[in-house]
Protein backbone atom coordinates (compact mmCIF):
# COMPACT_ATOMS: atom_id res chain seq x y z
CA UNK A 1 0.00 0.00 0.00
CA UNK A 2 1.42 3.37 -0.95
CA UNK A 3 2.04 6.09 1.58
CA UNK A 4 -0.16 8.48 -0.36
CA UNK A 5 -3.18 6.19 -0.21
CA UNK A 6 -2.71 5.93 3.55
CA UNK A 7 -2.39 9.70 3.87
CA UNK A 8 -5.60 10.19 1.94
CA UNK A 9 -7.52 8.16 4.55
CA UNK A 10 -7.22 10.69 7.34
CA UNK A 11 -6.53 14.39 7.81
CA UNK A 12 -2.96 15.51 8.54
CA UNK A 13 -1.91 14.78 12.13
CA UNK A 14 1.13 15.86 14.12
CA UNK A 15 2.47 12.31 14.16
CA UNK A 16 1.46 11.51 10.60
CA UNK A 17 -0.45 8.54 11.99
CA UNK A 18 -4.19 8.00 12.06
CA UNK A 19 -5.62 9.09 15.41
CA UNK A 20 -8.13 6.24 15.44
CA UNK A 21 -5.38 3.65 15.19
CA UNK A 22 -3.36 5.51 17.82
CA UNK A 23 -6.34 5.47 20.20
CA UNK A 24 -6.93 1.76 19.58
CA UNK A 25 -3.33 0.89 20.43
CA UNK A 26 -3.47 3.11 23.53
CA UNK A 27 -6.69 1.36 24.57
CA UNK A 28 -5.13 -2.06 24.05
CA UNK A 29 -2.12 -0.97 26.11
CA UNK A 30 -4.44 0.08 28.93
CA UNK A 31 -6.45 -3.14 28.61
CA UNK A 32 -3.17 -5.01 29.23
CA UNK A 33 -3.18 -3.36 32.67
CA UNK A 34 -6.81 -4.38 33.23
CA UNK A 35 -6.23 -8.04 32.45
CA UNK A 36 -2.79 -7.96 34.10
CA UNK A 37 -4.44 -6.91 37.35
CA UNK A 38 -7.07 -9.66 37.10
CA UNK A 39 -4.43 -12.31 36.31
CA UNK A 40 -2.28 -11.04 39.20
CA UNK A 41 -5.28 -11.28 41.55
CA UNK A 42 -5.93 -14.87 40.43
CA UNK A 43 -2.30 -15.81 41.02
CA UNK A 44 -2.17 -14.05 44.42
CA UNK A 45 -5.08 -16.13 45.71
CA UNK A 46 -4.06 -19.34 43.94
CA UNK A 47 -4.06 -22.23 46.40
CA UNK A 48 -5.55 -20.11 49.20
CA UNK A 49 -9.14 -21.39 48.97
CA UNK A 50 -10.26 -22.92 52.28
CA UNK A 51 -12.99 -25.04 50.74
CA UNK A 52 -13.38 -26.83 47.41
CA UNK A 53 -13.92 -27.33 44.63
CA UNK A 54 -10.34 -26.60 43.63
CA UNK A 55 -9.03 -26.07 40.08
CA UNK A 56 -7.94 -29.70 39.73
CA UNK A 57 -11.47 -30.81 40.66
CA UNK A 58 -13.21 -28.97 37.84
CA UNK A 59 -10.76 -28.19 35.02
CA UNK A 60 -11.06 -30.22 31.81
CA UNK A 61 -7.85 -29.46 29.91
CA UNK A 62 -8.73 -31.22 26.60
CA UNK A 63 -12.05 -29.36 26.46
CA UNK A 64 -10.47 -25.96 27.15
CA UNK A 65 -7.68 -26.74 24.66
CA UNK A 66 -10.27 -27.08 21.90
CA UNK A 67 -11.81 -23.72 22.94
CA UNK A 68 -8.36 -22.12 22.88
CA UNK A 69 -7.73 -23.60 19.43
CA UNK A 70 -11.06 -22.24 18.15
CA UNK A 71 -10.25 -18.72 19.34
CA UNK A 72 -6.74 -18.95 17.89
CA UNK A 73 -8.14 -19.91 14.49
CA UNK A 74 -10.59 -16.99 14.66
CA UNK A 75 -7.55 -14.71 14.55
CA UNK A 76 -6.65 -16.28 11.19
CA UNK A 77 -10.15 -15.72 9.76
CA UNK A 78 -10.09 -12.14 11.07
CA UNK A 79 -6.84 -11.31 9.33
CA UNK A 80 -8.13 -12.97 6.14
CA UNK A 81 -11.20 -10.66 6.34
CA UNK A 82 -8.85 -7.66 6.48
CA UNK A 83 -6.82 -8.99 3.54
CA UNK A 84 -10.07 -9.43 1.58
CA UNK A 85 -11.30 -5.85 2.08
CA UNK A 86 -7.83 -4.49 1.32
CA UNK A 87 -8.03 -6.06 -2.15
CA UNK A 88 -11.69 -4.95 -2.55
CA UNK A 89 -13.13 -8.44 -2.18
CA UNK A 90 -16.53 -7.83 -0.49
CA UNK A 91 -17.59 -11.48 -0.70
CA UNK A 92 -14.38 -12.60 0.96
CA UNK A 93 -14.84 -9.95 3.65
CA UNK A 94 -18.34 -11.25 4.45
CA UNK A 95 -17.26 -14.90 4.50
CA UNK A 96 -14.31 -14.31 6.82
CA UNK A 97 -16.17 -11.87 9.08
CA UNK A 98 -19.00 -14.41 9.46
CA UNK A 99 -16.47 -17.19 10.11
CA UNK A 100 -14.73 -15.10 12.77
CA UNK A 101 -18.02 -14.24 14.50
CA UNK A 102 -19.06 -17.90 14.34
CA UNK A 103 -15.78 -19.10 15.88
CA UNK A 104 -16.12 -16.42 18.56
CA UNK A 105 -19.68 -17.59 19.27
CA UNK A 106 -18.45 -21.20 19.54
CA UNK A 107 -15.84 -20.05 22.05
CA UNK A 108 -18.46 -18.17 24.10
CA UNK A 109 -20.83 -21.15 23.92
CA UNK A 110 -18.01 -23.35 25.20
CA UNK A 111 -17.30 -20.94 28.03
CA UNK A 112 -21.00 -20.85 28.96
CA UNK A 113 -21.08 -24.66 29.06
CA UNK A 114 -17.90 -24.68 31.14
CA UNK A 115 -19.35 -22.18 33.64
CA UNK A 116 -22.57 -24.22 33.92
CA UNK A 117 -20.60 -27.43 34.45
CA UNK A 118 -18.43 -25.81 37.13
CA UNK A 119 -21.53 -24.42 38.84
CA UNK A 120 -23.15 -27.86 38.92
CA UNK A 121 -19.91 -29.18 40.42
CA UNK A 122 -20.37 -26.73 43.30
CA UNK A 123 -18.19 -23.83 42.16
CA UNK A 124 -20.13 -20.56 42.44
CA UNK A 125 -18.90 -16.97 42.28
CA UNK A 126 -18.71 -16.74 46.08
CA UNK A 127 -17.87 -20.36 46.92
CA UNK A 128 -14.17 -19.71 47.48
CA UNK A 129 -11.29 -17.49 46.36
CA UNK A 130 -10.68 -19.68 43.31
CA UNK A 131 -14.31 -19.32 42.17
CA UNK A 132 -14.32 -15.54 42.61
CA UNK A 133 -11.00 -14.85 40.87
CA UNK A 134 -11.61 -17.42 38.12
CA UNK A 135 -15.11 -16.26 37.18
CA UNK A 136 -14.20 -12.57 37.29
CA UNK A 137 -11.12 -13.04 35.08
CA UNK A 138 -12.62 -15.39 32.50
CA UNK A 139 -16.01 -13.62 32.68
CA UNK A 140 -14.47 -10.27 31.75
CA UNK A 141 -12.59 -11.97 28.92
CA UNK A 142 -15.84 -13.53 27.72
CA UNK A 143 -17.49 -10.09 27.85
CA UNK A 144 -14.68 -8.74 25.65
CA UNK A 145 -15.19 -11.58 23.14
CA UNK A 146 -18.96 -10.99 23.14
CA UNK A 147 -18.43 -7.29 22.43
CA UNK A 148 -16.06 -8.25 19.61
CA UNK A 149 -18.70 -10.53 18.08
CA UNK A 150 -21.21 -7.64 18.13
CA UNK A 151 -18.68 -5.41 16.34
CA UNK A 152 -17.99 -8.11 13.71
CA UNK A 153 -21.69 -8.72 13.10
CA UNK A 154 -22.23 -4.96 12.78
CA UNK A 155 -19.57 -4.80 10.07
CA UNK A 156 -21.11 -7.85 8.40
CA UNK A 157 -24.50 -6.11 8.21
CA UNK A 158 -22.84 -2.89 7.00
CA UNK A 159 -21.03 -4.86 4.30
CA UNK A 160 -24.32 -6.34 3.03
CA UNK A 161 -25.69 -2.77 2.85
CA UNK A 162 -22.64 -1.70 0.85
CA UNK A 163 -21.31 0.56 3.59
CA UNK A 164 -17.81 -0.95 3.92
CA UNK A 165 -15.78 0.42 1.03
CA UNK A 166 -12.26 -0.91 0.38
CA UNK A 167 -10.80 2.52 1.23
CA UNK A 168 -12.40 2.22 4.67
CA UNK A 169 -10.40 -0.91 5.47
CA UNK A 170 -8.94 0.80 8.54
CA UNK A 171 -12.28 0.25 10.30
CA UNK A 172 -11.92 -3.50 9.75
CA UNK A 173 -8.27 -3.30 10.82
CA UNK A 174 -9.27 -1.62 14.11
CA UNK A 175 -11.92 -4.28 14.78
CA UNK A 176 -9.24 -6.87 13.97
CA UNK A 177 -6.78 -5.35 16.44
CA UNK A 178 -9.39 -5.64 19.18
CA UNK A 179 -10.18 -9.22 18.17
CA UNK A 180 -6.54 -10.31 18.09
CA UNK A 181 -6.06 -8.72 21.49
CA UNK A 182 -8.76 -10.86 23.10
CA UNK A 183 -7.02 -13.82 21.47
CA UNK A 184 -3.60 -12.99 22.96
CA UNK A 185 -5.20 -12.45 26.37
CA UNK A 186 -6.63 -15.96 26.12
CA UNK A 187 -3.19 -17.31 25.16
CA UNK A 188 -1.96 -16.02 28.53
CA UNK A 189 -5.05 -17.15 30.50
CA UNK A 190 -4.95 -20.62 28.92
CA UNK A 191 -1.35 -21.11 30.01
CA UNK A 192 -1.38 -19.37 33.41
CA UNK A 193 -4.77 -20.59 34.63
CA UNK A 194 -5.37 -23.93 32.92
CA UNK A 195 -2.20 -25.61 31.63
CA UNK A 196 -0.10 -25.11 34.77
CA UNK A 197 -2.84 -26.93 36.68
CA UNK A 198 -2.81 -29.99 34.40
CA UNK A 199 -0.13 -32.00 36.31
CA UNK A 200 -2.33 -31.77 39.45
CA UNK A 201 -5.33 -33.31 37.68
CA UNK A 202 -5.53 -37.04 38.33
Amino acid sequence: MSQLSHAAEHPPTTTGLDHRKMVMWAFLGSDCLFFGSLIATYLLYKGKSLVGPYPADVFNIPYTSVSAFVLLMSSLTMVLALAAIQRGDQRGLRIWLAATALLGAIFIGGQYFEFITFYHNGLGLTTNLFGTTFYVLTGFHGAHVTFGIIILLSFLVMSFRGRVAPEQHLNIELAGLYWHFVDVVWIVIFTVIYLVEAPNIV
Binding site: G16, A40, L44, P62, V79, A83, T191
Partner: protein, 103 residues
Protein backbone atom coordinates in the same frame (compact mmCIF):
# COMPACT_ATOMS: atom_id res chain seq x y z
CA UNK B 1 3.50 17.53 1.70
CA UNK B 2 5.57 16.90 4.81
CA UNK B 3 2.78 15.15 6.65
CA UNK B 4 2.16 12.82 3.77
CA UNK B 5 5.78 11.83 3.54
CA UNK B 6 5.86 11.19 7.28
CA UNK B 7 2.71 9.15 7.26
CA UNK B 8 3.22 5.54 8.28
CA UNK B 9 6.97 5.88 7.99
CA UNK B 10 7.56 2.23 8.90
CA UNK B 11 4.51 0.92 7.07
CA UNK B 12 5.67 -2.14 5.18
CA UNK B 13 3.66 -4.53 3.09
CA UNK B 14 1.49 -6.89 5.11
CA UNK B 15 1.93 -10.66 4.78
CA UNK B 16 0.03 -12.54 2.08
CA UNK B 17 -2.96 -14.79 2.97
CA UNK B 18 -0.72 -17.82 2.39
CA UNK B 19 1.72 -16.46 4.97
CA UNK B 20 -1.13 -15.86 7.42
CA UNK B 21 -2.20 -19.50 7.04
CA UNK B 22 1.38 -20.68 7.57
CA UNK B 23 1.59 -18.60 10.77
CA UNK B 24 -1.75 -20.03 11.97
CA UNK B 25 -0.45 -23.57 11.37
CA UNK B 26 2.62 -22.80 13.46
CA UNK B 27 0.38 -21.38 16.22
CA UNK B 28 -1.79 -24.51 16.10
CA UNK B 29 1.31 -26.72 16.30
CA UNK B 30 2.60 -24.80 19.33
CA UNK B 31 -0.81 -25.19 21.02
CA UNK B 32 -0.71 -28.95 20.45
CA UNK B 33 2.82 -29.10 21.88
CA UNK B 34 1.66 -27.10 24.94
CA UNK B 35 -1.18 -29.53 25.64
CA UNK B 36 0.98 -32.62 25.08
CA UNK B 37 3.86 -31.58 27.34
CA UNK B 38 1.64 -31.00 30.38
CA UNK B 39 0.86 -34.73 30.31
CA UNK B 40 4.51 -35.82 30.10
CA UNK B 41 5.52 -36.43 33.71
CA UNK B 42 9.27 -36.35 33.05
CA UNK B 43 8.94 -32.71 31.91
CA UNK B 44 7.34 -31.56 35.18
CA UNK B 45 10.55 -30.00 36.59
CA UNK B 46 10.87 -27.72 33.52
CA UNK B 47 7.19 -27.42 32.69
CA UNK B 48 6.69 -23.81 33.79
CA UNK B 49 9.62 -22.36 31.81
CA UNK B 50 8.64 -24.45 28.78
CA UNK B 51 5.02 -23.25 28.90
CA UNK B 52 6.20 -19.67 29.39
CA UNK B 53 8.44 -19.82 26.30
CA UNK B 54 5.72 -21.39 24.13
CA UNK B 55 3.08 -18.95 25.36
CA UNK B 56 5.32 -15.93 24.76
CA UNK B 57 6.12 -17.25 21.26
CA UNK B 58 2.40 -17.50 20.42
CA UNK B 59 1.70 -14.08 21.92
CA UNK B 60 4.54 -12.49 19.95
CA UNK B 61 3.55 -14.13 16.65
CA UNK B 62 -0.06 -12.94 16.89
CA UNK B 63 0.97 -9.40 17.85
CA UNK B 64 3.73 -9.09 15.25
CA UNK B 65 2.04 -10.72 12.25
CA UNK B 66 -1.74 -10.74 12.76
CA UNK B 67 -1.80 -7.31 14.47
CA UNK B 68 0.93 -6.09 12.06
CA UNK B 69 3.00 -4.50 14.82
CA UNK B 70 6.14 -5.75 13.06
CA UNK B 71 5.20 -3.72 9.97
CA UNK B 72 3.56 -0.65 11.54
CA UNK B 73 4.95 2.52 13.02
CA UNK B 74 7.16 2.13 16.10
CA UNK B 75 4.89 4.46 18.09
CA UNK B 76 2.16 1.79 18.12
CA UNK B 77 4.68 -0.68 19.58
CA UNK B 78 5.61 1.85 22.26
CA UNK B 79 1.94 2.28 23.25
CA UNK B 80 1.24 -1.45 23.43
CA UNK B 81 4.52 -2.70 24.86
CA UNK B 82 4.44 0.17 27.37
CA UNK B 83 1.08 -1.05 28.66
CA UNK B 84 2.31 -4.63 28.63
CA UNK B 85 5.42 -3.75 30.67
CA UNK B 86 3.32 -1.75 33.14
CA UNK B 87 0.97 -4.72 33.53
CA UNK B 88 3.92 -7.04 34.11
CA UNK B 89 5.31 -4.56 36.65
CA UNK B 90 1.96 -4.46 38.49
CA UNK B 91 1.85 -8.26 38.54
CA UNK B 92 5.40 -8.58 39.91
CA UNK B 93 4.86 -5.77 42.45
CA UNK B 94 1.61 -7.30 43.75
CA UNK B 95 3.13 -10.76 44.04
CA UNK B 96 6.12 -9.33 45.86
CA UNK B 97 3.92 -7.30 48.23
CA UNK B 98 1.80 -10.36 48.98
CA UNK B 99 4.90 -12.42 49.71
CA UNK B 100 4.57 -14.84 46.81
CA UNK B 101 8.22 -14.40 45.77
CA UNK B 102 9.74 -13.78 49.19
CA UNK B 103 7.54 -15.62 51.68
Amino acid sequence: MATESATHTRQGSHPTPARYIAIALILAAITIVEVVIVYLDFLNPVLLPLLAVLSIAKFAMVVMFFMHLKFDDRLFSVLFVGGLLLATGVLVALMTLFGVFFA
